[in-house]
Symmetry: C2
Subunit: 480 residues, 2 copies
């Protein structure tokens, strides 16, 4: 069951004493107000929240380091917090402890236009970064749904609709400033574009969900804003036909910037919501970046490929208003779903499979849903990466429905794993998917546990997430 | 001094006994012939070789796992060997032990055209893979100079001329089968394009130079062969003008596939070698991949940008013979240098800096060379990544010249680090650059040591490379 977690709060030496010590260097930026604690223990998921004992609002790396060092002394859990928009219970303080809110670390430290990179503090959100960059002609492409912080996006290895062309946080983080479990501070890399200098610490911390260290500064790759952007939408007789078009597009070397699959049920919701009259069949939403000539050529190539696979009504435009109208349908999808089923909330899955298995994975999932539940379950996905979401529209007050959707999610993950996929393409493990990580990676999880123990031997960093902390015996018999 | 290494051979329990046990499952594929031992202890660098005690030729992952398990039992060092083309003493058996030659693991396990990926055994070389792929319309782009094995390229995080467009081994390895220090076998990932499932074990093993595990199978991203390839060459009044053109090209979003800087001295050697009459000034060699229309457009854009920075004689062609003629100058550069200074060998550096500092780094290095040595030192580089090579053409029998070149290399690395760069863009650390890793990463090296100890607690995997093995006290006081 996804919301289960082994919770046992650690005994703080004395909350009053710890709060007093934190106040010595953080002043009034230390809170034990119940509303603040509650807000910092829950994310946007359906997983149960767990409040920390204290929330601190750090403004510098030094403050984070000092807070962590203080907690290390007394084995107090430390949980970093960005915008709280994670989806697998990442910020829940399962064993209590100190939550470090990084939201006030929101300075853009430097922008290096010649190098196409920038360094930001962990609390800067992706929209704020792009607003900051507006006059430079540069942009940062990773776009998870929420306006998440770049520290949080680093921690969860976030991606989104642009990943097919520009990569995910895995590819786009160049360097990190990280506070380690004992309060020491390191840089994980350099600003150079490539390096063969030792173990890839940057990639080790990207996606580690605050369990190995706390990133306080993030150096990111940037891109020049394309001279021309064209958008397109196309209807298909089946999900398979849409996926075959995407595969052919990749083979033809067309550098699509975005290619999103939206299923028939979702298109029906879109039409109701936006008063549009799209065909209520599976559709692809596409975006092309380049020069005016190259985006036109890309759109032409894809429209021809789509036609071969039965695609119809291929509509494209480089005009900004037209583009926005086309893409609004995709961007507003979650609102369209919530309007279609008022009062329901989305329990969202995010498996990723090799693209050759994607159509089959979607078809089997749809058949499973049709045979076993009446919960509405529209599908949309980042089809270029083989990553898709089922939005199980559950009644949040019905534990029966949550159990039912969770069982379907369980079968979906197992199906994806058999196909060579992963249980999570972009949301992460948190405490919601730990059992699936074990199934997916087997002995690889033993290696992860050895890494966790090596870098956080007292298990103070976001405990209870990603992997269970090993007892000494397990490590020695399994890895040593 | 780069060739120094703390060497102390471990005592084998009894070479005869170990050889006997290895023969039980490897038959005649166990060698102690002096010529074989010698060949397996040295790479293509100027660093001193160190022979292993035994060489085994494994043909399956199970054989590798059994060999490692046997060595783990007796704390015998294990060194993986691909083609021996590394450049920092990576394969030297500093403490003796068993060398595992993976060259016979040369099967292409699977090619998945729809997914644009393939899985190969570690001994498959990059040229053999591309020959195998020829009929599929796909290719694998990473091209270090040598025809290295894909296992070795994974171990050193190799790159080359295509990295600016397609990425390095860091970006292009999807999954690995790895034999751990105790002989267990794991997959580090899945075939899915993206994943947010736990720590990034794939990236941890890529670039770990056989010190954390031995990769026996590698799953790689592939690309469709471009419909059109165009090549260009252009002369510049200065390195700075060439670099400014590259920066402007990146900003304009031109997706150059290759962009190589060759300095005036190198161009002079090229003209002598190939009987060409290029201007003996700094030059850029470029390659564009795409449709015929898009490569023509890319070439036009770059030629216009080059002109703005004083570039002259911009010559481009999409004709294959013309292209080959243009690029031969770059490809044959090392031969041109060796022909120019017969009997001398190249001591090659590979720093990488943010591109905004590249021209300055090259200029200061040239000034340093001019002021302090008569050793010829032509420069060429993967300028799109900020990565460049100085080829110090030393007399290999002159320890004075090697010391002189090493001192210049030392100053070059320190210069690059001050500029936000790295001591190695693509060759790796081996035992030749360990002191520079320490300077570059500081406490990051303590983290690397903790990782090494966690995954190889008995220090049997390629000991003496990347980081010194920590003693227990160091780890506890620094990281715990």
């Amino acid at each position: 069951m996804p919301t289960r977690a082994a919770v046992s709060r650690r005994r703080l030496p004395s909350r009053a004493r710890v709060v007093g010590e934190l106040r010595e260097f953080l002043g009034e930026r230390v809170s034990t107000a119940p509303a603040i604690l509650d807000q910092h223990g829950r994310d946007e998921s359906y997983h149960a929240g767990h409040s920390p004992d204290v929330v601190v609002f750090c403004e510098t790396t030094e403050e984070v380091a000092r807070t962590v060092a203080l907690c290390a002394r007394d084995r107090i859990p430390v949980i970093p917090f960005g915008t709280g928009t994670s989806l697998e219970g990442h910020v829940a303080a399962l064993e209590g402890g100190v939550c470090i809110d990084l939201g006030r670390m929101d300075r853009v430290v430097s922008v290096n236009p010649e190098d196409l990179d920038c360094t930001v503090e962990a609390g800067v959100t992706r929209r704020r970064l792009n607003e900051h960059l507006r006059d430079t002609g540069l942009f940062f492409p990773v776009d998870p749904g929420a306006d998440a912080s770049l520290g949080g996006m680093t921690a969860t290895r976030a991606s989104g609709t642009n990943a097919v062309r520009y990569g995910t946080m895995r590819e786009l983080v160049l360097d990190l400033k990280v506070v380690l479990a004992d309060g020491r501070v390191i840089q994980t890399g350099t600003r150079s574009r490539k390096s063969a200098a030792g173990y890839d610490l940057t990639r080790l911390f990207v996606g580690s969900e605050g369990t190995l260290g706390i990133a306080t500064e993030v150096t990111l790759r940037l891109f020049g804003l394309p001279e021309s952007i064209a958008a397109a939408v196309c209807s298909f007789p089946s999900v398979d036909a849409a996926v075959q078009t995407v595969i052919a597009t990749a083979h033809a070397g067309v550098p699509v910037a975005r290619v999103e699959l939206v299923d028939a049920l979702s298109m029906e919701c879109v039409n109701r919501w936006a008063k549009t009259d799209y065909a209520e069949t599976p559709a692809l939403f596409l975006e092309f970046h380049g020069t005016p000539a190259s985006t036109a050529e890309q759109a032409k190539t894809v429209s021809e490929l789509a036609r071969e696979f039965g695609g119809r009504d291929f509509a494209w435009s480089a005009n900004q208003e037209e583009r926005n109208r086309l893409w609004r349908a995709r961007h507003d999808l979650l609102y369209a779903l919530m309007a279609r089923w008022p009062g329901r909330k989305s329990l969202t899955t995010d498996v990723c499979v090799p693209i050759s298995r994607l159509a089959e994975c979607v078809a089997e999932t749809n058949a499973d849903i049709a045979a076993s539940t009446s919960i509405p379950a529209p599908i949309a996905g980042h089809v270029g990466d083989g990553n898709f979401h089922v939005a199980f529209m559950v009644d949040p007050d019905s534990s029966e429905e949550i159990v039912e959707a969770s069982a379907l999610h369980d079968r979906l993950i197992r199906r994806a794993l058999v196909m060579g996929g992963t249980c999570t393409g972009e949301h992460g493990i948190g405490y919601g998917k730990m059992e699936y990580l074990e199934i997916e990676r087997g002995d690889g999880v033993r290696v992860m546990q050895a890494l966790k123990q090596a870098l956080d031997p007292e298990n103070i960093l976001n405990p209870g997430k990603i992997v269970p902390f090993p007892d000494q015996r397990t490590i020695l018999s399994h890895v040593a």
